[in-house]
């Protein structure tokens, strides 16, 4: 992959080296951050040697705290040698990483848009270790950034300054799957694909599926309340997660691991950890409700001439396919272009302004195929579908899903992605895309939209070659204002992270925000867990210290 970018990047790196001079005051900045900043300054020559490694891109990524000069580092301690020695007594030498090169990947998010300067990575294996570490950090006022697979798209999984990164990657034990109830118990660091395989061998399937399944971990998925591709049928994680074990910032272990579906005893505490993006606790164990693997899976990949046709198709699908419909995904022409150009997958059908992937899942192959086929026949007669293909062969099903699942990756290869995850009522669902296209014109490479039409969730992706602050100014807050005005949500499933948190007031009322802030202050009075995320910066002004 390094070779692909070599020619373009080399010239940019050399330019960077000359341009990068820190005008930001370094007064009061921790050593770790300064070292990072200094290295970026020398990226011209240092970066050139690094072209031949897969991490070469990191030299062109700006440190988050530099990009957000209004953000001040909180009143946390800095990591000292004494702290490292303590961590090593808990985790052993292998569990504490301080090597700069190794830390690069953990300091940078998947989109390569956010970069922190943490100098320590901790890798606990058990809940007890997490508890001891958090208790210590709380005492010492050390900030911690919990991290799972680091596939989050809003910069919530990487540090902003020098927060200690606590990775759940080594907490990957699968406990068991109850064959009667379908409840799966496992540690938070299990990779989704591994869990999929585990339950698949026992004829069960997970209620959640994401394009990032090869890397994302269940703890992170739960912490961000990820939506994914199966939400239209199985609902959100708030319903499918029936147990959670988490560690509070003060080290207390809160065990809400349940193996029974119904439990109305007191407050449903696990819901606090689902979707709070690691700001209220570190999730260490999860109990997930799984469903029996369907014996019949059929996928249709179709072309629609207009967005109205997509909506009509969805409405029709809901009625005619009802109980067997399990996914309804859409992508536009620009997304398909990116997929063909950047990840060399071919368009399964002819060119069209809109593409839809429909999946049906049931217990009788022939019945489902007939239902889907007759539905599509009618749709084609009515011209809401103009072309398409369908198959139940597992190989073809996977290939067709691949085309949809690799959309994010394909757009990433354009250079820099400004990604927005909006929930919109169906009438307004796609309109933001042409609006942004007009607004940005030739300043951007591509303006693409794809997403879970079934849940009203659009992923708006705008790409440029490099990060351009002018483009950001044109996009934000316009896109958020537009969404709110049209009755939508500014973050359907990706969460707030650091990218969306300035706009929390657009999404929630002042009383709601106050209640959230009060809860946070109650559970994390020193604000050590994943600071700077979810809440707008002014809330993080630490005036209570």
């Amino acid at each position: 992959m390094a070779l692909l970018f070599k020619r373009g990047i080399l010239s940019q790196l050399l330019l960077r080296g000359r341009q990068l001079t820190t005008k930001l005051s370094t007064k009061g900045m921790p050593e770790a951050c300064l070292t990072c900043a200094n290295e970026s300054r020398y990226s011209g020559s240092w970066g050139y040697r690094r072209i031949h490694t897969s991490k070469f891109l990191s030299t062109t990524i700006e440190l988050t705290y530099k990009r957000l000069p209004e953000l001040k580092r909180g009143p946390y301690a800095e990591v000292t040698q004494k702290d490292i020695e303590y961590f090593e007594t808990i985790l052993g030498k292998g569990g504490v990483i301080t090597d700069k090169d190794e830390l690069e990947g953990y300091n940078i998010d998947w989109y390569k848009t956010c970069k922190g300067c943490s100098s320590v990575l901790l890798r606990p294996r058990t809940t007890e270790e997490v508890s001891k570490l958090l208790s210590y950090c709380n005492e010492q006022s050390l900030a911690v950034c919990p991290q799972g697979g680091n596939t989050g798209l809003v910069g919530g999984s990487v540090p902003v300054f020098d927060e200690i990164i606590m990775s759940t990657s080594l907490m990957n034990e699968v406990f068991d799957l109850d064959q009667m109830s379908g409840v799966l118990g496992c540690q938070a660091g299990c990779v989704l694909e591994v869990l999929e395989k585990y339950v698949g061998e026992r004829n069960y399937m997970l209620p959640v599926d994401l394009g990032a399944k090869g890397s994302c971990q269940i703890g992170g998925i739960v912490s961000t309340n990820a939506g994914g591709l199966r939400l239209v049928r199985y609902g959100s994680l708030h319903g499918n997660v029936i147990g959670v074990e988490a560690v509070l910032p003060n080290g207390n272990i809160v065990d809400c691991m349940s193996h029974v579906r119904k439990d109305n005893t007191g407050y449903d505490l696990k819901q606090f950890f689902i979707g709070s993006e690691g700001t209220l606790g570190v999730v260490t164990k999860v109990a997930l409700l799984c469903h029996p693997t369907p014996s019949a899976i059929t996928v249709a990949f179709i072309a629609c001439p207009t967005f109205e046709a997509v909506l009509k198709t969805f409405r029709s699908c809901r009625e005619k396919l009802s109980e067997v419909l399990s996914a309804f995904e859409m992508m536009d022409g620009a997304t398909m272009e990116a997929i063909e150009q950047n990840v060399s997958l071919r368009n399964p059908i002819g060119l069209s302004p809109f593409y839809v992937l429909i999946e049906t899942v049931g217990s009788e192959q022939e019945h489902d195929e007939e239902k889907l086929a007759s539905f599509l026949e009618t749709a084609m007669e009515n011209n809401i579908v103009t072309d398409g293909t369908m198959s139940s062969d597992p190989g073809h099903v996977r290939e067709l899903w691949d085309v949809r699942e690799r959309a994010a990756e394909a757009l990433l290869h354009d250079g820099y992605v400004y990604s927005y995850d909006l929930s919109l009522p169906s009438k307004a669902y796609y309109h933001i895309v042409p609006v942004m296209k007009d607004r940005l014109g030739s300043k951007v490479k591509r303006c693409a939209g794809y997403g879970h039409v079934g849940d009203g969730n659009l992923h708006l992706n705008i790409t440029t070659q490099d990060y351009d602050p002018e483009v950001i100014k044109l996009i934000e807050p316009f896109v958020y204002d537009w969404t709110t005005k049209n009755g939508g949500s500014i973050s359907a499933e990706h969460g707030m992270g650091i990218k969306r948190c300035p706009y929390l007031s657009l999404a929630k009322s002042p009383n709601s925000i106050k209640l959230m802030k009060d809860l946070k202050a109650l559970i994390d009075p020193k604000c050590i867990l994943n600071p700077y995320k979810v809440f707008p910066y002014e809330v993080n002004s630490f005036s209570e210290f």
Binding site: P348, A373, T389, P394
Partner: protein, 254 residues
């Protein structure tokens, strides 16, 4: 003059499905497992349909040997553009012991009956990886063969076939009628479009039995056991070169 083309369509366990060995070690689990058209046969079908689109072929006939579900496999081929199908019904024990030697005789017989000019088969099936049927069929018919084909060009009364061989690429010219086996890079098969999937339901699939064709399918090969490959053992980490050498010596490797 346009050719009449025959393509072989074998029904195999789908490539995306995980294979499990039967506990009695007599074979792999096929009951309730998803099957589909052998990927190399899909490439063969695609090539035949392209020849028809270029008007180099006048009719394309797909053949599948096996139990009734083979008709679904034929429907996939029909949906891709094949004109009609022939299902040679073979079930039970006979099907379990069916080998390339038998299939090649069946295909040869059908090719003669249908007066076919070109047979395109997949180079191998992904279940047995035999890579024998195309070669045997050509031998039975005494026709020239171009196997592992990555490109086919129609010349005057002959075919120029580009073959992928160990040393690189080889060109062979074969007089018609001929047998070809498709390799991976011959083409990228199309996804059947919805209108064609609908049309395929109405296309004809003729049924034939083994006795109709007069082919002897007595097994010549007996499968003794089918076992999983040995489980991969965990590796061991060593701290130094000296330790590595000691370990290798202990294992008798050096």
């Amino acid at each position: 003059m346009a050719m009449r083309v025959l393509v072989g369509c074998k029904r195999v366990i789908d490539y995306a499905v995980k294979i499990r060995v039967k506990p009695d070690k007599t074979g792999v689990v096929t009951e309730g497992v998803k099957h589909s058209l052998n990927p190399f046969d899909e490439i063969a079908v695609e090539e035949a349909v392209r020849l028809k689109e270029k008007k180099l072929a006048s009719e394309v006939i797909a053949v599948s040997c096996g139990p009734p579900p083979c008709q679904e496999t034929l429907r996939t081929a029909l949906a891709m553009g094949v004109d009609r199908g022939i299902h040679v019904e073979i079930g039970g024990k006979d099907y379990e012991t069916l080998q390339p030697i038998h299939v090649s005789k069946i295909l040869a017989k059908l090719a003669q009956e249908e007066k076919v000019d070109l047979i395109i088969l997949g180079k191998q099936a992904i279940d047995d990886d035999a890579n024998q049927t195309a070669q045997m069929t050509a031998a039975v018919l005494d026709w020239p063969q171009g196997v592992f084909a990555s490109k086919i060009e129609k010349m005057d009364g002959t075919l120029k076939i580009q073959r992928e061989v160990d040393g690189g690429v080889e060109y062979v010219e074969a007089k018609l009628p001929a047998v070809i086996s498709s390799d991976l890079r011959l083409n990228e098969p199309r996804y059947a479009t919805l209108p064609n999937i609908m049309k395929a339901k109405k296309k004809q699939i003729a049924k034939k039995s083994i006795s109709d064709l007069g082919v002897d399918i007595t097994p010549r090969v007996e499968v003794l056991t089918v076992e999983d490959p040995p489980v991969r053992e965990a590796g061991a980490k060593v701290e130094s070169v000296e330790e590595l050498l000691t370990k290798l010596k202990d294992l008798g490797r050096i």
